[in-house]
């Protein structure tokens, strides 16, 4: 029965035409379909076009890699692996090493993570577990707004607001309270590793907190209810039921934040002081991988100088690729199967 209508729809016009002794047995429908041809060519070429665009993403990543390697071969040949352990940075005599920049990048990023992660966790816990429903949407909107502010505007704010605060208020306070640790020695100009870390922390907070919020939302409600049913307080429920279930995803979110912090350029360049030396003091000016490229690339005279800067870019590219890849895998491991975020 269900087959019959389909057959009759196609067959009946044809049957009407063919039964009389007309020389043209082709139905209008068939004629129409014949003139249209099959959709195979269009379909295949469309699929191929879409595939080509999708593969262009691969090509872009490989291309970036290839171009960076090709353009840094001078420096790769001249310094080899030692490039990353040498402290010298002397464009005049052509002596290059990336250690001060690696130190600056790691110090600022890790310090920024140390500041941002507890706060981001707090925000995520507040948003998913404690927040009254009417407040939830505006607050998450505000934190996402933080993510939309361009890095150069953060830098501008840091130069004119954060640097004076660091120089006049926060810096002296830190010297007085934590001066004995040796991390807060030397002259405090307001610019330096600590200022750069603070602005980085402000910048990566929204990323970590919104990802963590997504991951915590993905924890099934039954887990929470089970823990609550055993008589747990709300904090115990969060700790046992939510955080423990989502810890891999949270680590992934933190690593995504780390990836962003490692590659952040403009805001850091504006407040880190730009001085390629390694100091224990957090007040000392430093330099990061990204900011040395931003500052010196346009005036890089000489092929070796240029290729050393490209090699720094290559290192940055590889490190962020690895960090991001691992982080994505971790986040996927947790949120896979969960419905995508509605808002």
């Amino acid at each position: 029965m269900p087959v019959k209508p389909a057959v009759s729809v196609v067959a009946s016009p044809a049957a009407e035409k063919t039964t009389p002794s007309s020389p043209a047995p082709v139905s209008p429908v068939r004629e129409f379909l014949n003139t249209r041809g099959s959709g195979r060519l269009a379909d295949t070429s469309f699929a191929a076009l879409m595939l080509a665009c999708a593969c262009s993403i691969f090509v872009i990543v490989l291309f970036i890699f290839w171009i960076l390697i090709q353009n840094s071969h001078l420096s790769l040949a001249a310094f080899g692996w030692k490039f990353f352990t040498r402290e010298a940075w002397d464009p005049v005599s052509g002596d290059f090493g990336a250690l001060p920049f690696i130190y600056g990048t790691l110090a600022t990023s890790l310090l920024a993570l140390a500041m941002a992660v507890p706060l981001a966790l707090g925000v995520a816990i507040f948003l998913t577990e404690l927040c009254p429903r009417p407040l939830r949407a505006p607050i998450s909107f505000l934190t996402e707004l933080l993510a939309a502010i361009p890095s150069v505007v953060y830098g501008l704010w840091a130069v004119f607001v954060l640097v004076p605060i660091m120089r006049d208020t926060l810096g002296p306070f830190l010297v007085k309270t934590l001066g004995w640790t040796g991390f807060f020695e030397g002259a405090n100009f307001g610019v330096g590793l600590l200022t750069a870390s603070i602005i980085l922390a402000i910048m990566i907070l929204p990323i970590i907190s919104s990802l963590t919020r997504d991951i915590m939302t993905a924890v099934p409600h039954s887990q929470r209810e089970a823990v609550l049913a055993l008589g747990a307080t709300r904090w115990e429920m969060i700790r046992i039921g939510v955080l423990r279930n989502s810890r891999i995803g949270i680590v992934g979110a933190v690593m995504l934040g780390l990836g962003r912090a490692l590659g952040e350029t403009m805001a850091v360049t504006m407040v880190i002081g730009n001085h390629p030396e390694i100091h224990k003091s957090l007040f000392a000016p430093g330099y990061t991988l990204a900011s040395v490229i931003a500052n010196e690339f346009a005036e890089a005279t000489g092929d070796l100088y240029y290729s050393a800067l490209i090699e720094i870019g290559l290192a940055l590219f590889l490190v962020t690729i690895v960090v991001n890849a691992v982080a994505r895998l971790m986040v996927w491991a947790v949120t896979r199967g969960a419905p995508s975020r509605a808002s």
Partner: protein, 301 residues
């Protein structure tokens, strides 16, 4: 976050929970709740501070000249960023023209053809990773690729750099939005004899179009504020320029140059520029929210 195991209570002895223990647990609960609220306040404080300062500083230095004049030479009062606003729009237009079609097409592949295939997953993963590549690396790559062989900075190079940064965002949102289109709609189209490519273009993409527009605007907002990829590609220009083959001014670049300069007049302009940039981005993000809420298809698969 603690790693201590949950201690099992011996079963035979139904102990009454001690008062001290209950007190400790509830105090911990209160403290953590308090800390979470405190963290939220601490996080929102800088946002409020940045926005307040921006509006306060920017609004007091915005005037009509800002939108109509080119930058004044050092030491002269006045001047504006008209050329930077136009330059930014030009570079962004170029980037959108190149980046958005490729991004949408890749998203269509992921959603309509590559679902569940190894290649599809690999492309999705690569897009996510490309999203995390630092913008400065994109800048030096395009410099080596376009600027160095041509021997001059150009608006075109800036557009290419930004286009590459837009692709992953557009791809991922397109894919997510297409995934919300119910299969039944596609099947209905295919059942009427519509070819697959026509189904993808006129049915899936059309149904998901509000969401896809959202994604494109998000990508646009993201690259609108990017400075690092433009430093060595578009390079900046103090004068009017409409030639795609020449260095061109861009709003974020101009803000950067003015912010690190030692002149008060330029600082003033930097604040005004930052306010204009932020307003542009906020407006597009807010529009996105409106579109996104309207565009969510009810009963998606």
């Amino acid at each position: 976050m603690s790693t201590q195991p949950i201690q099992a209570q011996p079963l035979g002895d139904p102990r009454k929970p001690s008062r001290a223990n209950i007190l400790r647990r509830y105090t911990a609960d209160r403290i953590v709740s308090g800390l979470a609220v405190l963290a939220t306040v601490i996080v929102l404080a800088p946002l409020a501070a940045i926005l307040f300062y921006l509006v306060y500083k920017g609004a007091s230095s915005l005037n009509l000249a800002f939108f109509t004049h080119v930058p004044a030479p050092v030491g002269e009062e006045g001047g504006g960023m008209a050329n930077a606003i136009v330059g930014s729009s030009l570079v962004l237009l170029l980037a959108s023209l190149m980046g958005i079609p490729v991004g949408i097409a890749a998203g269509v592949y992921l959603s309509e053809f590559g679902r569940g295939k190894f290649l599809g997953n690999a492309v999705r993963f690569t897009a996510d990773v490309l999203n995390g590549v630092p913008s400065i690396v994109m800048g030096i790559t395009i410099y080596s690729l376009v600027v160095k062989p041509q021997r001059h900075y150009s608006a075109l190079a800036g557009g290419i750099a930004l286009a590459i940064m837009m692709i992953p965002t557009v791809t991922r949102t397109t894919e997510e939005m297409l995934a919300t289109v119910p299969l039944a709609i596609r099947e209905a189209a295919l059942g009427l004899g519509v070819p697959k490519w026509r189904t993808a273009v006129s049915v899936s993409l059309r149904t998901a179009s509000p969401g896809i527009i959202t994604g494109c605007m998000l990508a646009f907002a993201r690259v609108a504020g990017e400075t690092a990829p433009l430093l060595f590609t578009a390079f900046g220009n103090q004068f009017w320029s409409f030639n795609l083959n020449e260095p061109i001014a861009a709003l974020p670049l101009q803000i950067f140059v003015y912010a690190i300069s030692p002149y008060d007049e330029w600082h003033r302009l930097a604040w005004a520029g930052a306010l204009v940039l932020i307003v542009l981005i906020m407006v597009s993000v807010t529009l996105v929210r409106v579109f996104a809420n309207r565009g969510v298809l009810k009963g998606g698969s």
